[in-house]
Symmetry: C2
Subunit: 443 residues, 2 copies
């Protein structure tokens, strides 16, 4: 787990503020849920897969004693490992207080007891938008547009979105001859296409018990080059190829509607393609799935899809839902590497030195006056000579340092030192605010 | 632990944004640390007191197996219970990358395995400013001014700050005859003065083994009315009373300097008093301690003090430090009760209805155009009639709803419905952005 230096916190904050603003612009609302959830919420039915990921929190006091003696489960809660499971629990719990169509965003930490690796952390942020309660593919369009805008606002461009649909993938896998008992396993293998390419995936599919002829038929879908086509042609090819395999009416309406809507809203700014083998790892997807990339980076910046059955785990009925998650930590590290953050993030405007103990009152008054005018001002708490104070001003990225010694005081002026040029000039004390405003010191 | 509805998240966010801005205005920098810390960091030496508070996270895999067999400690990490202990660990660890005088703020969740009660939660936010590395009482002045400003900016006023000094309190307790072995225990009892008054405190002191005559001498300090006096008179009385008890030179210089500085910087806007029995519960304070209240509320809104020895726990040497913590959850609940939040928090500007499937493209284009102009816009994903769409517009607090049906389309206009007055009017499609700007729709 990581500590963050001030510069890093500001960069993270810069992302969060920008993402939040875009999501609000689309009418998404923020929620928050506790870090700890009951284990039964986190584990669901098929708990085994996730159990390994969860940091478990021990029972306490008498309840712990009892469990120790009975050799029972020692933990009853765990740290959340994503933001989607808490959303599902939350929506079902507060449904009566929420709009029927609930658009929410959630940017916050999650915890996974993975082995840490480059770019993988045990505590990391997720950044999700979801729409719960809308069955129409108009909801997919909203989360896709909002996500592209969020990425654009922090400096990415040239977006492309890969589309697929779990129902089409399911039909494809069935048609090439994968038994339904192996479908989940095949999806997990296919999800590694980005990392391993078709050869790696083929090897893993074989390991998972899928026969060579089936794998060759899947290869056919890569070879057909559907993923290279513009979306409308891609959809037509996909349909044709599926029909060749005997799928008479592939459910392509949703992808057609989504791509038509996005073309209208965004035109060429958002390139769409169909990727018949796009899988998305999570087991809960039920309809359209998608990933977004940008011209600048060769890999996915986020992904999502429709999961119409997940909420039924917490309530009595199925409730349609669709979400799009931005890879927060990945984007942060790309932006850091490529210096995509604004340079001025977090510098202070003015450093007020304290010439000696008896000048302290005046320094405090100057600082008060400048803060009231909206400047970020640091008043020295270093006593003694000016040199370490000016060093601190420099260290903290101050644009100007203000010095009022005995001679300045006598003349009613302040010495203002430009920390970049090291030039100093005298400014009448009563004009200091105007003088700074004229120099466009950020305020 | 609590879930938060969108309105509540926005209120919390409103506080955080405002506090952050004030702290930045004083040159404080943000840091972040993980939710989980190693248990040895959290427990320190005298671990017993805090151990009860800590949510412990279980070891995993083989390491858990070994500990179970050896009947060893089953946890090696825990959720942080405050932000001060992590700061101390952090500062010592990153000292070489931080300014010598490190001003930091940290607003974030902490976890305590307390029994939940009204206004007490197992997950709650703390909001701290601290200055590490400055021995001068100028640092106390900075954290006090910043805290008062932070509270002012969210709507509080008429601040008063109670001052005391752990060294004075120590001298007082010694002088009235409390043995040094009972000093810590007496401090814990005195810290409950706000809740229980002097009679309650006297009872608890007696239970803790302090004799009746000693307690009576302490009562003398309440009866002397020092806490009622303006700060300079209060300090003089405090000195006189301590001298009466045989304390020859009470260390009052820091409080004198702090109160002189604050009088210069803030004048009458910040009332100061001395409270000789102000204790602040935490054991780590070593110098000036303080609490802030406002005219509007009868109890403390935050507290802090100097803790020059805490950092030595993590490094080799003592490093001076001082901090001020705002009672985030308490302030939030006061502001909610008294409706101190801005009314417009989080409403959307425009709701774009979709008249029918074939009008969807046009609706998306209108929404895009309005978002580009800076408006918060929700596009309906409800298909079918307008009625549920307008209901949603109302539910979500939209200021205007836009309708483009066949007749509007034919005329090149939009029907714009004011959701408050329910008045509708027709606006030429190409003028819609200007029309909204003229009505000062927030953007």
């Amino acid at each position: 787990m990581r500590d963050f230096l001030p510069r890093e916190v500001r960069q993270r904050q810069h992302l969060i503020t920008n993402f939040r603003q875009v999501y609000e612009r689309y009418g998404f609302e923020p929620i928050d849920t506790p870090a700890l959830e009951r284990l039964e919420v986190l584990l669901g039915k098929g708990g085994d897969e996730n159990e390994k990921l969860i940091f478990k929190v021990m029972k306490r006091g008498a309840s712990l004693e009892r469990s120790l003696q009975a050799q029972d489960e020692l933990a009853d809660a765990g740290l959340r490992f994503d933001l989607t499971v808490p959303l599902a629990r939350y929506y079902v719990e507060y449904q009566s207080k929420l709009p029927r169509v609930f658009r929410r965003y959630h940017i916050g930490p999650v915890w996974r007891a993975d082995r840490p690796a480059r770019g993988r952390f045990r505590e990391f942020y997720q950044c999700d938008v979801d729409i719960v309660g809308a069955a129409s593919s108009a909801a997919e369009v909203e989360v896709i547009l909002a996500t592209a805008d969020a990425l654009e606002v922090v400096g990415f461009s040239g977006f492309s979105v890969k589309l697929n649909d779990r129902r089409l993938l399911g039909a494809l896998l069935e048609a090439v001859g994968i038994p339904s008992s192996l479908e989940g396993s095949a999806v997990i293998a296919l999800d590694k296409m980005d990392k391993m390419g078709m050869d790696g995936v083929a090897k893993e599919l074989a390991e998972r018990g899928i026969t060579a002829d089936v794998i060759e038929r899947l290869r056919g879908f890569v070879a057909a080059g559907i993923a290279e086509l513009a979306v409308q042609d891609g959809l037509a090819s996909f349909e044709k190829e599926l029909q060749k395999l005997g799928v008479e009416k592939p459910p392509l309406d949703d992808l057609r509607q989504i791509s038509a809507d996005i073309a209208v809203a965004r035109g060429d700014k958002l390139r769409l393609t169909v990727d018949p083998l796009l899988a998305r790892g999570m087991g809960y997807y039920t309809g359209p799935i998608f990933e977004i990339a940008s011209r600048e980076v060769p890999f996915s910046l986020g992904g999502g899809g429709r999961y119409d059955e997940l909420l039924a785990r917490f309530g009595k009925q199925s409730i349609p839902a669709v979400g799009f998650s931005i890879g927060f930590e990945r984007i942060l590290s790309i932006m850091t590497e490529r210096e995509m953050f604004p340079v001025e993030l977090g510098g202070i405007d003015v450093y007020v030195t304290v010439f000696s103990a008896e000048h302290r009152a005046a320094a405090l008054q100057i600082a008060e006056q400048l803060r009231s005018a909206g400047f970020d001002v640091l008043t020295s708490v270093l006593l003694g000579s000016l040199k370490p104070q000016l060093r601190e001003a420099d260290e903290r990225g101050a644009r100007f340092a203000i010095i009022e010694g005995p001679s300045e005081r006598e003349q009613g002026v302040l010495q203002v030192k430009d920390m970049k040029s090291a030039q100093a000039q005298l400014v009448a004390k009563e004009l200091i605010v105007d003088w700074l405003f004229e120099r466009r010191v950020s305020a």
